[in-house]
Symmetry: C2
Subunit: 516 residues, 2 copies
């Protein structure tokens, strides 16, 4: 869930906007701290309001409401349409210069998908020492790129700018820090917007379902390439906090220590629900077109809506209470269904910033991968068996026939037999206990790895009980080197976003742990 | 936020659905407890998947994903379209037989809107006594009708079925209970789907912004009609908990006692944010058409999405953890972007149930009215001044000219001057203190009214600190008859929905208070 702009978003007040140009898409550079100014809507866009007025007639009891927020997104659609015709296809998602690693050998994914080859975008900071023992692998949040920190090739501030550098949490005087764009992402790594080498077309929703563990496996292929046998530490927050744990479970002998911040060992229903609604909202945008929007207008409206929902989960109610309260953006104007209260303009702004900055299909696949995350032993074993069954797909002889066979099989949305209920355990107490045992067994490979688990009490997306669960489970595996730190509400009201904002407490704890 | 079906939703498992008929719209009676069966998608709807496959070609590395949930809503659109052509316009929103009160005299709303006349649908239970002193006015949640309890004219169970009746929480052996459909609703009371008498067309988004206080004022016009001078009690939960307080502030001399369950004295930013995203998602549905969908396909997709988001706020994470955990609906099938985990099928089902059951514009206006709710003295005074300025609209001479003048004024979405920042107080401590003082002054009229305030610790939509705030504020007004009850997480994990489910603890507390 990293967001590079998160620090500059303060209390943005709305324009009575009619047209919104995405800064990235149109190459306009502007500081996010200063509210943008918007051009006037052309007559064609304003027409709706006019015709509604004509329709309602002069005799109506009350005036027709105005919807400038809808005018704005409709104008953007028109602008993108005209731009597509003139200048070619959809935006190129990038945060700037980065290194690339391309694997020519195929990768078999946990749920049976296959990529004939793949590319991982990455950046590094600090110096690799002679025995390559000072490497920190930094895992990102959902939508972040490899650009965690500015560097000469790309001086733009990174998403963990103040946490990486000489003397900082990830001390580049001592460590060689690697950050990748995850598999499935859109910032240089192979994802749904990449070309499928099998037919020369973009994957779109022909991209296979992937898991956190798949992403981590791809990262370790990069480490192989760099000749890094063992990490000094696997570090990450949010989705990265999941991955830092997954690295320890998948490659315990290659991970020296682990830092997991505001992450979890398995997603819980509330987080799944919040991500589910984001995906549904995005998929309902007609421009999403089942994922085949490349070269056309991308689902910027669905992306904006999804981001607004996501933004609710990043902070906390008490923080908003202090910051926005019940202030309206302009109390002199009548209440409106478009952004009106300051909290609404804040959400609107977050959606505007993001709607063309990130690939919609990447969001769907990575968000789903987070839901599927479960380091419990039962799930790990199921995935192992599934991989076993699918290993044949790595045989060169198989590769050509994959597409047809499975496509027909999977697109059958109407089974001939009605769905029947699966047996369900109805004893919560024993189930909970079984759940705990399952997770202890699942995390057993990490039994010897020193681990720092960091939680934030005000986090509603990855509630702190999940981090406590990780720490307690690790202790139950016999791990004697578990450190648990929780930032209470007196320390941080920034909720899930604390990992991006709290240099002193988050950064400080990480630094102490890595030096310990 | 009342939902009649809330009790029957257990752990519904999904069909691999392709077409979804709304039971209400199509007059199909089915028990919500048994999963529905869906007809096959016609070839025209399946075509997309087929053409995608053709596009992706047989050489693709992986199969195209299937999206049965999108097929289903697209099929519904087609079904409604064909039905519209054959059988006339949109569904008629009703929960059955009810009484009606129609005011011929106009009502001026808080924000300056005017209704030349209005109708309030209502139902009653029990017997009105001779001096009309045994009346309980029951306020509903956002989307509920007047049908709180079955009766001979409408034997269908009501939304508070087990709370109303002889010997129950609202004891009909003793009390005469009145429940109305709120002004702005769609179950018989005047709302956006009603005809504007000024021009014979539906109001749609020419309906004026309204407030909780407007709704309560309309209810008291009904009490006038019935000759009820003073209520024995004003009772409500959720939005009804706001209104039960508003009644005390607006008409302190006419309210004998107050019960406010899971309500608040002013909406806070987190609740506003959650409702805001619901409205935005709904308004983004192209079928919403700026509110002018009557006679056409209603925004059933936006309504479904909005309801899914809303449903997240009705329960609690811990309850879902116990009930759904990480169970997938059918573990034998590959992960999907359409409903997959049980929690997702639960949300999907809630959206399906609601999407054609309620008028989209009513949802928007009433949801917005909840955001605007603030019983603080500053807001009350501003509304008083605004009403003063708008009183001229009640003059018969004015009525004809209202429409044009204001329509032009309000639909200017592009001011000639850019928006400038309003001065903002940046001292949270003093602001918080001022906020408290403001609310004490606002609730002062209730200083003598015995009041029961009920909260539920696991509620995330109306968190219990808001109910504590109400109780503490009332005490500061000098009120000596304030009872505060909070159901802890050991008592209820049902969150906001507890008021619909917990007959013993919610119902029991209400009964004890009313008999006290």
């Amino acid at each position: 869930m990293n967001r590079q702009f998160v620090k500059v978003l303060s209390h943005v007040r709305p324009q009575h906007r009619s047209g919104v140009l995405c800064p990235k898409l149109f190459g306009v550079s502007r500081s996010p701290a200063s509210p943008p100014t918007y051009p006037s809507a052309p007559a064609s866009v304003r027409r709706f309001t006019t015709s509604s007025l004509l329709r309602s007639g002069s005799a109506a009891s009350n005036p027709q409401m105005a919807f400038p927020c809808l005018d704005a997104v409709e104008l953007r659609t028109k602008q993108i349409q005209s731009r597509s015709t003139l200048n070619g296809p959809e935006p190129s998602y990038t945060t700037g210069a980065h290194k690339s690693f391309t694997s020519k050998s195929p990768i078999l994914l946990d749920y049976g998908g296959i990529l004939q080859g793949f590319t991982i975008a990455y950046e590094t900071w600090g110096e690799l020492n002679a025995d390559k023992s000072n490497v920190i692998l930094l895992h990102t949040g959902l939508s972040a790129s490899s650009h965690a920190k500015s560097n000469p090739d790309n001086p733009r501030p990174g998403w963990w700018e103040k946490f990486i550098g000489p003397g900082l949490a990830l001390d580049t005087d001592r460590f060689f820090v690697i950050c990748t764009n995850v598999l499935g992402g859109c910032y240089g790594s192979t994802g749904p917007s990449s070309i499928d080498p099998a037919d020369g077309e973009r994957y779109a929703t022909r991209f296979p379902i992937l898991t956190m563990e798949d992403m981590v496996s791809a990262q370790f292929r990069l480490l192989d390439e760099l000749g890094v046998e063992k990490l000094y530490a696997s570090v990450g927050a949010s989705m990265g906090g999941m991955q830092s744990l997954a690295a320890g479970v998948l490659f315990p002998e290659r991970v020296g220590s682990i830092v997991s911040i505001s992450g979890c060992a398995r997603s819980h229903p509330y987080s799944i629900a919040m991500r589910y609604t984001q995906r549904q909202v995005l998929m309902a945008d007609p421009n999403w077109n089942r994922g085949f929007y490349y070269g056309q207008v991308p689902p910027h409206i669905g992306m904006k809506l999804a981001r607004q929902i996501a933004t609710i989960t990043y902070r906390s109610g008490p923080e908003w209470e202090q910051r926005f309260g019940r202030q309206r953006a302009d109390p002199s104007r009548p209440p409106a269904l478009c952004p009106d209260f300051l909290i609404e303009t804040y959400l609107d702004h977050a959606g505007e910033k993001f709607c063309l900055e990130y690939d919609a299909n990447s969001l769907l696949y990575i968000s789903k991968a987070m839901d599927l995350f479960d380091l419990g032993a039962v799930n790990r074993e199921e995935l192992r068996k599934l991989r076993q069954r699918n290993r044949y797909k790595l045989e060169p002889t198989h590769v050509q026939s994959t597409g047809v066979e499975e496509a027909n099989q999977c697109s059958l949305s109407l089974p001939s037999q009605p769905y029947t209920e699966q047996p369900r355990e109805d004893t919560p107490a024993s189930k909970l206990s079984a759940n705990q045992t399952d997770l202890v067994a699942g995390l057993a490979p990490m039994g010897d790895i020193p681990t720092l688990v960091l939680g934030v009490t005000s986090d509603i997306l990855f509630p702190s009980w999940q981090q406590r669960e990780v720490a307690e489970t690790l202790k139950k595996t016999g791990n004697k080197k578990v450190t648990y730190v929780e930032l209470g509400e007196d320390v941080s009201l920034f909720g899930h976003d604390s990992f991006l904002l709290d240099v002193q407490n988050i950064g400080g704890s990480v630094k102490r742990f890595l030096y310990g």
